[in-house]
Symmetry: none
Subunit: 254 residues, 2 copies
DNA sequence: CAGTGGTCTAGACCACATG
DNA sequence: ATGTGGTCTAGACCACTGG
């Protein structure tokens, strides 16, 4: 009964990390508390220091713990980082925030790539792409305009998909597209004619723009997109700890 | 006496990571290229696999490379992430980007906290705070307006500081203030009269707003601030990898 | 198949924090 | 002085990818 790894024989470092995460989330170790020392953990899991340190490194990356030379490792937080999926998908983020997502598709097209878009997708100018232009809703109200561009290799899955029905991201996952990494650039831009009409605001209204590129594990570009949010509907927050990476979440503005 | 001039002895994994980062930034390894195998790197740096893997792990966390069982490690991107310090401080970020930072102080005051500010700083309404209002420059050109608010306990270090001379963040560090964690909220806002005058743009111009709260290790609020950037001067980028947290950086828009 | 990166062991030394 | 976490070595086996 004790050994329960029925899922493909869980790795030791995974098992240790899972134990610590669970204990932290459930309050066995609370923020401010000291974690067991590495030596204790090696004994508890009959392991060497390698896997223990690998698990610690993972938790450190998640902002859960803080460690340092000579000091005991301390719990910082008990809130788990938003998952990658929640951050990449408007639909999933809405569901996580108890908001009903919606979409009104304006245009879906297969067309040749313009020069700048081709560069962004790392394909040749004129190669076929699939582009999608949608208005996204939060609880029925306009919240964001979304412009998505895919190389045909990935976009072909989108052409056969009812873009009014939900999450393209989920559809790509389901079709076996290996979405591994994403890079976002955030800035501000004034609403152009299309943005203004769809979002029902004056031209020039400040919008929060998120440009995103998504990659496969092999490094191929899956998507290059441009999302423009009404800033009172959504904003980004980030938490960073000294010496650790940041974690990000999208926050509802209502 | 020991041997000649010694900077702090650099750790092996640091040296390896630095070599790879530099080579990637300078284009010796371009996005899509394969990195040298771990075995090659151990030979090149006369090291064992541990440090090599530690360096790889760091670059993976920065979104620069992607690796996996049986596959060669591949370069994903060549944009370098900034550290926590660089991201919290305008001055340090400028230096890291080879931009000359500047500042024109508009106002430094000790005054009682208004209600909303008091709540944000977790002090009582009417308690003394120190507030700073500055225009920040990049290579002599207006780039950002900065409104900083400190509880008096921390702000007193700022009153004695020449706010036209550089980084308040660095000054606080030097004074021994324990800045450990920060939370940022990013959205868009139109320039108000003050913003417009200082940044030399029309009222209503879309600005990228970053509201920041900084905390000590003990959880006390050090700072509550509101920075508004010209969006063509600066933007935020974030890298997230499936199963890993995100890392963030501020990117020059020139 | 050979080569790669992912995992693991069992040692070791060091810098640092605390008592 | 002891114990901690950070770094490093020199091996090993495995899962997987690619030719």
């Amino acid at each position: 009964m004790t050994t329960g790894p029925r899922h493909r024989t869980r790795q030791q470092h995974d098992e240790i990390a899972h134990y610590l995460r669970t204990a932290i989330r459930e309050g066995s170790f609370q923020p401010g508390d000291e974690l067991p020392s590495e030596a204790e953990l090696t004994r508890k899991f009959t392991s060497s220091r390698g896997p223990v340190r690998q698990a610690m490194s993972a938790l450190r990356g998640e902002g859960l713990i803080s460690s340092g030379r000579g000091r005991r490792t301390v719990v910082l937080d008990n809130v788990l980082t938003q998952s990658f999926d929640d951050v990449i998908s408007f639909s999933q983020w809405c569901h996580a925030s108890d908001i009903v997502p919606g979409q009104v598709t304006q245009r879906v097209a297969r067309e040749p790539a313009e020069k700048s878009l081709a560069a962004s997708l790392r394909i040749e100018e004129g190669d076929p792409i699939v582009s999608v232009f949608r208005l996204r809703l939060m609880d029925e109200a306009p919240a964001m305009v979304e412009r998505l561009n895919y190389p045909f290799e990935f976009g072909r899955h989108v052409l056969a998909f009812d873009t009014d029905s939900g999450s393209i991201y989920q559809e790509l996952i389901d079709q076996g597209v290996d979405i591994n990494r994403a890079s976002r650039t955030i800035d501000a831009v004034g609403a152009n004619d299309d943005d203004a009409r769809l979002l029902e605001v004056p031209v020039g209204t400040p919008l929060l723009r998120v440009r995103r590129r998504a990659f496969t594990t092999a490094g191929d570009v899956i998507e290059s997109s441009d999302d423009r949010y009404l800033p009172w509907k959504a904003s980004f927050t980030m938490n960073s700890t000294r010496g650790n990476p940041s974690s990000m979440s999208l926050i509802s503005g209502d």
